[in-house]
């Protein structure tokens, strides 16, 4: 009981040091819970079955990521508790001097850890449960699910998981603490408070050299990942640039302390003004003793910014693609190959529609319907459009062979224009010997553009057609979740195809109603399985094999689901990285404040105002937190551009918003830590 009282008092007494630890634990627990509870949060949402599949996948991914996260949190918590242990060595020394055995000292530590563990788990889960309710609204919004059945959900599974993971972490913390107590000798504990770190100032000239080298290294990495990004062919080359960035970052932090002094002392007016010399030197010594963690934190922050902003950018860009590519409410497709073609009157422009009606598919609730016939004729191969560019080095032999063999789809101008008109896209005109190449899939488009620049001609039934435009035109006939049209040609209406390999019929339409419940009904009706059943008479019947059916809803569900998963994993990792960085900085800063009490006492004695002291502390804290963030931001300006290139999402305007979002998240969490650190430090040095 005695020990219990001692433990409780210890915690309350050193609340300034423990507050950061508490906040970190609570945030850690809360975030862990929120992301593991996502599954239960979304189960009750009224979403389609495809979405449920995505949600299941999301849960599995979250579980996997959680293992990784638990390692990071584990390290952070162990680091923080070891840090606090160090601060209390003298206290333990006194206990032992009074004759308390090591086992009893360990018992105090265990009680403390258990107490902190229980309180932080309880508080964290409470916060987590509250936040996850908000999360489910966000999730519902993202999935565009209706929230009519919203209710307060607490996931027992996630709670159990959180408790188990954190129990393991706490047990490790206890084991390490006991190990540390068992290992130490009394004399070291007693003297611990007196052992101050010696501040070995670095040679400023060496610092200058290292700093310049670091800048050079970073500049070359920056250049190579942005302007010179075209040269990068393999992932390993990219890795080299990242490595350069990491080494450069550490070098910057190594040399930064010397650089600050070098620059500050040049400006005597500033340096010898008020307590500036003191503030700068203090900051300098802190940076000097945190070279390694400073570098790590900067890199973590860089990843955080990139992860958070690319996650949002992906979401933006996917939404943009969906809006551009999923333009019709429903689309039915029918593929027939050459042997069936014989029995088909391909000149019937309403062939597919009639076929569907004949099979009993209900098309009565559809409007602005169009039918496009895509012809695959032996006469025009994909290679023909590529023209002379087919010998380009960037095309490997296997692909070249494919290009030479595979026929490219051909569409009559009026068919295409009718479809384009139905969703408000650009319509074209053609002279009798012209064709247009339509393609919006990035990689293929590049290759085709290369070919078109040679003016590659195609010939059908002995008649030659030349390209109307020297670049591919944007467009498609199949709706999709992204720009995935790998190319077809538009030819004049009078072209007749005589060597057909196969054909595709594309019937697109909008629902005539947008009443919510009817809309849902229609989506259910035009589910691919349902349509196949109707056409084939039974599910997956022979006749129905070549029928495909997609709805706009289906495209949104699957693609948005995937995006949301990426976003959640991104935010999850980003926030964890952020907490880790901020917590390490905060602990370091607080311990400095404790060590520096005497210095502030001296300052007060020689007559420094409280205002100046606060100002100085704010400057030190702000710079100590701000410098890694600043470098991380510079890194990310270049890193983000690369991330966009890799993700092939450049050109979308969402990036600015995404960076704002990332900045907001970082400012809030970083800000919380900064504020706590500053106010606790203020209290510590005022004692």
């Amino acid at each position: 009981m005695m020990l219990f009282k001692l433990s409780v008092r210890n915690i309350i007494k050193s609340i300034q040091n423990y507050l950061i630890y508490f906040v970190t634990l609570i945030l850690g627990v809360a975030i862990f819970y929120v992301f593991n509870a996502l599954g239960s949060q979304t189960i009750m949402l009224n979403v389609s079955s495809d979405t449920h599949d995505v949600i299941k996948m999301m849960n599995d991914t979250m579980s996997a990521v959680s293992v990784f996260v638990s390692f990071i949190l584990g390290f952070l918590i162990v680091y923080a508790s070891a840090f606090l242990m160090k601060r209390r060595k003298k206290e333990f020394g006194i206990y032992m001097l009074l004759g308390m055995g090591k086992s009893k000292v360990s018992a105090i530590l265990i009680i403390e850890t258990v107490l902190i563990g229980i309180v932080s788990l309880a508080a964290g889960l409470l916060v987590g449960a509250a936040v996850s309710q908000g999360m489910s609204i966000v999730v519902a919004n993202m999935f565009e699910a209706d929230m009519t059945r919203f209710q307060f959900v607490v996931s027992g599974e996630a709670i159990a998981k959180t408790i188990i993971y954190f129990l393991v972490i706490y047990v490790i913390v206890i084991a390490l603490d006991i190990f540390v107590v068992g290992k130490t000798r009394l004399i070291n504990l007693i003297n611990a408070a007196k052992q101050s770190e010696k501040n070995h100032a670095k040679n400023p000239i060496i610092c200058l050299i290292v700093f310049v080298m670091a800048c050079g290294l970073l500049a070359s990495a920056y250049y190579n990942v942005t302007k010179g990004a075209g040269e990068i062919k393999e992932a390993s080359q990219f890795g080299v640039q990242i490595l350069k960035g990491i080494i450069g970052t550490f070098m910057v932090f190594w040399s930064l302390s010397g650089m600050i002094i070098l620059v500050a002392r040049k400006n005597k007016r500033l340096y010898y003004k008020g307590v500036n010399s003191f503030s700068i030197r203090e900051l300098d010594s802190r940076i000097n003793t945190t070279v390694f963690s400073g570098g790590i934190i900067c890199i973590l922050l860089f990843f955080t910014i990139c992860i958070l902003s690319s996650a949002m950018a992906i979401k933006k860009s996917v939404n943009a693609s969906l809006e551009e590519c999923a333009v019709k409410d429903v689309q039915l497709r029918w593929y027939i190959s050459d042997d069936e073609l014989a029995n088909t009157d391909i000149n019937d422009s309403r062939l597919f529609e009639n076929y569907l009606l004949d099979k009993g598919v209900d098309l009565s609730k559809l409007t602005s319907d169009t039918e496009v016939h895509v012809y695959y004729d032996e006469d025009i191969k994909r290679g023909d459009v590529v023209g002379e560019a087919i010998d380009d080095k960037s095309i490997d032999d296997f692909y070249r062979d494919y290009l030479r063999r595979a026929a490219i789809g051909a569409v009559h101008l009026s068919d295409y224009n009718r479809f384009a008109k139905s969703y408000g896209a650009k319509q074209y005109e053609l002279a009798e010997d012209e064709y247009i190449l339509v393609c919006d899939y990035n990689e293929t488009e590049k290759m085709f553009n290369n070919g078109l620049s040679y003016g590659s001609k195609i010939s059908i039934n002995g008649k030659e057609y030349s390209p109307k435009y020297s670049v591919c035109q944007d467009g498609f006939v199949e709706i999709s979740d992204t720009h995935a049209n790998i190319g077809f040609v538009i030819v004049p209406d009078d072209v007749r195809f005589t060597h057909l390999e196969s054909m595709e019929f594309v019937y697109s339409a909008d629902y005539s109603t947008h009443n919510k419940s009817e809309y849902t009904q229609l989506n259910k009706y035009y589910d691919e399985k349902n349509i196949k059943k109707i056409v084939g008479g039974k599910e997956d019947g022979d006749d129905a094999e070549s029928i495909r059916c997609v709805t706009k809803q289906y495209l949104y569900d699957t693609s948005v689901g995937l995006t949301i998963m990426i976003i959640f994993v991104g935010i999850y990792l980003g926030i964890i990285f952020l907490i880790s960085s901020a917590a390490i900085l905060a602990l370091k800063e607080l311990s400095e404040a404790t060590d520096n009490r005497e210095k502030y006492k001296t300052l007060r004695r020689i007559g420094v105002d409280e205002k100046q002291i606060s100002h100085s502390l704010m400057l030190q804290c702000g710079m100590f937190f701000g410098l890694p963030l600043l470098l991380a931001i510079i890194h990310s300006i270049f890193g983000m551009q690369t991330a966009m290139i890799i993700l092939q999402y450049f050109g979308h305007s969402g990036l600015f918003f995404s960076i704002l979002f990332a900045a907001a998240v970082i400012l809030v969490i970083y800000g919380i830590y900064f504020f706590i650190t500053y106010s606790c430090s203020r209290k510590i040095i005022s004692e």
Partner: protein
């Protein structure tokens, strides 16, 4: 001679009604300009409390303290800081140099918080360093200096603002005897050269013998007072020892 410090019937009580400690109990004395006065007493005699009251770090329970005619017990808030900044200089037992600053910067800090221009700072730091014999350590950090050097740097920091009153709290407490002697010689030198007024608290008779007057305190009250007069330092030291003996075992412990 004008009166720089006047301590007028000062009392300082600690604790509550049931358990009252009179750390300073009706003490009255004064210092003239250019005097070097030592206050001697055992641990717990109240000498440090008295010094804290004079330096406005602690508040008196009753009585008044005048520095250059101004009642400092009436000063409040930021004016207290300005008073300390402009009128007082401190020398502490454990130097209290800021370890991240060089000796030069430590001394300069006392001036820069008074918004003195860098050029002026440089001139004055070099001048005082010359007087205290610390020219060659100005670029060093405190961990690179010996105790004596550190204390002389601290003395330079205290004196550079030309304070009306220098308060020294056991300035030789952490020094070996050679460094202690060097420091005391310097202080005496400065006292004579700049006619700085110094109030030094100590429990060491040898240290006290460098002062021109020694006030003895026991249990919060003035017990005795010795003036050096025309005696040599050795003779003055012997007289101090006599009083210490008279004070009884309490001070012997501290010696």
């Amino acid at each position: 001679m004008n009166e720089i410090l006047k301590v007028d019937d000062v009392e300082k009580y600690y604790g509550n009604k049931t358990n009252l400690t009179k750390a300073v109990n009706h003490i009255t004395f004064s210092l003239d300009k250019g005097e070097f006065v030592g206050i001697m007493g055992a641990s717990g005699s109240g000498k440090t409390t008295l010094l804290n009251c004079i330096s406005t770090i602690d508040k008196v329970t009753a009585g008044h303290i005048y520095v250059d005619g101004k009642d400092i017990t009436k000063i409040k808030g930021n004016n207290l800081n300005r008073f300390r900044r402009e009128e007082l200089g401190f020398i502490f037992q454990d130097f209290n140099l800021i370890d991240t600053l060089t000796a030069y910067e430590n001394i300069a800090l006392a001036l820069s918080i008074q918004n003195v221009k860098p050029k002026e700072i440089e001139k004055r730091v070099n001048a005082i360093a010359d007087k205290l014999g610390i020219d060659d350590v100005l670029k060093k950090y405190s961990y690179q200096m010996s105790g004596g050097q550190k204390q002389r740097v601290a003395a330079a920091r205290a004196l550079i603002t030309n304070p009306k009153l220098v308060l020294a709290d056991e300035p030789t407490g952490a020094l070996d005897s050679k460094s202690a002697r060097q420091l005391l010689e310097s202080m005496k030198h400065i006292n004579e050269l700049l006619s700085a007024t110094i109030l030094m608290v100590t429990h060491d008779a040898f240290t006290a013998s460098y002062a021109s007057r020694v006030i003895f305190i026991k249990d919060g009250k003035i017990f005795n007072e010795l003036r050096k007069g025309d005696d040599s330092r050795k003779e003055f030291f012997d007289r101090i020892i006599d009083v210490v003996t008279m004070l009884g075992g309490s001070l012997n412990d501290a010696l």
